[in-house]
């Protein structure tokens, strides 16, 4: 692997021991994946932020990297934490956890990281342009950045994303190269696709088919005429969760699709496939649901406005978490949505979400519109799930009463 003089100096320790360790990580990954050189990155998203996932060893590593003088060289934001950083007590987080979580955030802050904790950095000011080389962790955001924004990133892990932040580099392999962005399998979609729920179901249906292939080709999807930002983030989260996908193209929708002809090998996704995916995430009855959450991935301002509209003048009867990024919450405060939502008894769980918060054992069943949340509710927390359209999830929190 060819390194520039500056990169070699980083590897030799001339920029401090944390930068050295960061470059060692990147050089090793470059060797493993056959990269010929490093490529400068303009943006980083770091995962491994929730203390629930990091544990004591992860915290120790981050503190050590901060003490070793590591400093982010490019715009770097964080994945969701295990709690609302300002309002953790209202969410039932214990004080010992909060102390450790705060130390994690402080270690990142010392390294010059922008400590907005969100899985939708693209809604919070970390929004790369088409063709930009970036190094992102968080599987749903990786999928969104590559596919919807047209930026270029591999699926980074926590340490490799941090290494990219501290050096401003990433090894050039995988999705940074043109040849790996071409689609290999066409999906003809014949079902009805309007809501976030349906796009989540589509992600699971396509994801399962990709998982069954040996080489996990890039999907080229036809039959979708339009998709909102909210639909795309739902689809990206689901496709990354169930199919491990980092990139797809939708004909007429995503920016790089027009560069390619549809691959000859194709398969169909029918309404029956979507219905089956929806059914597969519904094993909880209304009586069993004791936890309701919207915002996986984190809610847009538009979605929060809609929730405020649905909740106005009503009282929720179940624990209801509204999860979003801090900058979006601040706007919701200013626009009066927060007041309406909190008056209903629903809670903002800013900076965190139902996937990474330490809630195992606290609830029995989750109602959500997110296919990704359903996966982790079961896999991580052993909750049953109710997978319903956005408005019906709000209704569930209200005890099923229509206004």
């Amino acid at each position: 692997m060819k390194l520039t003089q500056e990169e070699q100096e980083m590897l030799d320790g001339k920029h401090g021991r944390s930068t050295r360790k960061a470059m060692e990580i990147l050089a090793a990954l470059g060797v493993i994946y056959g990269a010929e050189r490093m490529v400068p990155v303009t943006s980083v998203q770091v995962a491994g932020v929730s203390y629930d996932n990091l544990g004591e060893a992860g915290l120790h590593f981050l503190v050590d990297m901060a003490e070793g003088g590591g400093q982010a060289r490019v715009l770097t934001t964080l994945n969701p934490a295990g709690m609302d950083i300002e309002n953790w007590q209202a969410l039932g987080i214990d004080a010992a956890f909060a102390e450790r979580q705060t130390q994690v955030i402080e270690a990142f802050a010392r390294m010059g990281v922008v400590t907005t904790c969100t899985c939708t950095p693209y809604l919070a000011g970390n929004t790369p342009k088409p063709g930009e080389h970036i190094a992102w962790a968080e599987s749903s955001a990786v999928c969104y950045a590559n596919s919807v924004l047209g930026a270029r990133t591999n699926r980074e892990g926590g340490p490799s994303a941090l290494a990219a932040a501290l050096t401003g580099r990433t090894p050039e392999y995988g999705y940074h190269l043109d040849e790996n962005r071409a689609p290999g399998l066409t999906f003809e979609v014949l079902g009805r696709l309007e809501q976030t729920l349906e796009f989540g179901a589509l992600g699971k249906a396509i994801g399962k088919q990709l998982e069954a292939t040996e080489k996990k080709p890039v999907a080229y999807i036809r039959g979708i005429s339009q998709a909102s930002l909210e639909n795309m983030k739902s689809f990206c989260a689901s496709l990354a969760t169930y199919g491990g996908a980092a990139l797809f193209h939708i004909e007429g929708v995503t920016p790089e699709a027009g560069q390619f002809a549809p691959p000859a090998v194709s398969c169909c996704i029918t309404q029956a496939d979507l219905d089956e995916a929806i059914q597969s995430m519904n094993d909880a009855s209304s009586e069993e649901v004791d936890f309701v959450s919207l915002g996986c991935p984190h809610l847009s301002l538009n979605e929060i406005a809609h929730i405020a509209n649905l909740l106005e003048g009503q009282q929720v009867v179940k624990e209801f978490w509204i999860t979003t990024a801090r900058p979006t919450k601040v706007l919701a405060d200013q626009l009066g949505y927060t007041r309406v939502i909190e008056a209903s008894g629903a809670k903002f769980a800013t900076d965190t979400c139902c996937v990474v918060a330490p809630i195992q054992g606290r609830f029995k069943a989750l109602a959500t519109d997110s296919a990704k949340a359903c996966y982790y509710a079961f896999a991580k927390n052993k909750f049953k799930t109710m997978f319903k359209p956005f408005d019906e999830v709000v209704l569930e929190a209200l005890g099923g009463r229509k206004r």
Partner: protein
């Protein structure tokens, strides 16, 4: 016998080889406190990797496994070195953050459990000294 491979992480270590033909998932597959392999049905189930030159084809499982190696190192229960046929991201990152010498592209069939082995990460060599 001296085998030449590819450097993943620098450093030199000597120890007793612990060899398996099965992949290892550090997250969930190895107890982070004791270094014992706990994956059900694994060929090394019940064996301790602490202080050993751990030889396996490739890593698998969750990326959080890198931190499991780091936790083992902090607790003094990490392997002395790691030798792979084909190293992947989880093991490579785990070795670098934990400063565990690591070499891959080694024909691991030549290494036997119980043999004294010297791993030189910088030279990318694995030497069986018995």
């Amino acid at each position: 016998m001296r085998l030449q491979g590819r450097k993943i992480c620098a450093g030199r270590a000597e120890g007793e080889a612990l060899v398996t033909s099965m992949g290892i998932s550090f997250y969930g597959g190895v107890d982070p406190e004791t270094g014992e392999v706990v994956e059900r049905g694994h060929a090394l189930e019940g064996q301790c990797i602490a202080g050993k030159v751990l030889v396996f084809p490739t890593g698998k499982g969750s990326t959080v496994g890198s931190y499991t190696l780091y936790r083992l190192k902090l607790g003094g229960m990490a392997p002395a070195a790691i030798v792979n046929a084909e190293c992947e991201t989880i093991t490579a990152v785990g070795c670098i953050i934990s400063e565990i010498p690591c070499v891959d592209h080694i024909a691991i069939d030549y290494l036997k459990t119980g043999a004294r082995v010297i791993v030189d990460g910088e030279q990318a060599t694995v030497e069986s000294v018995d």
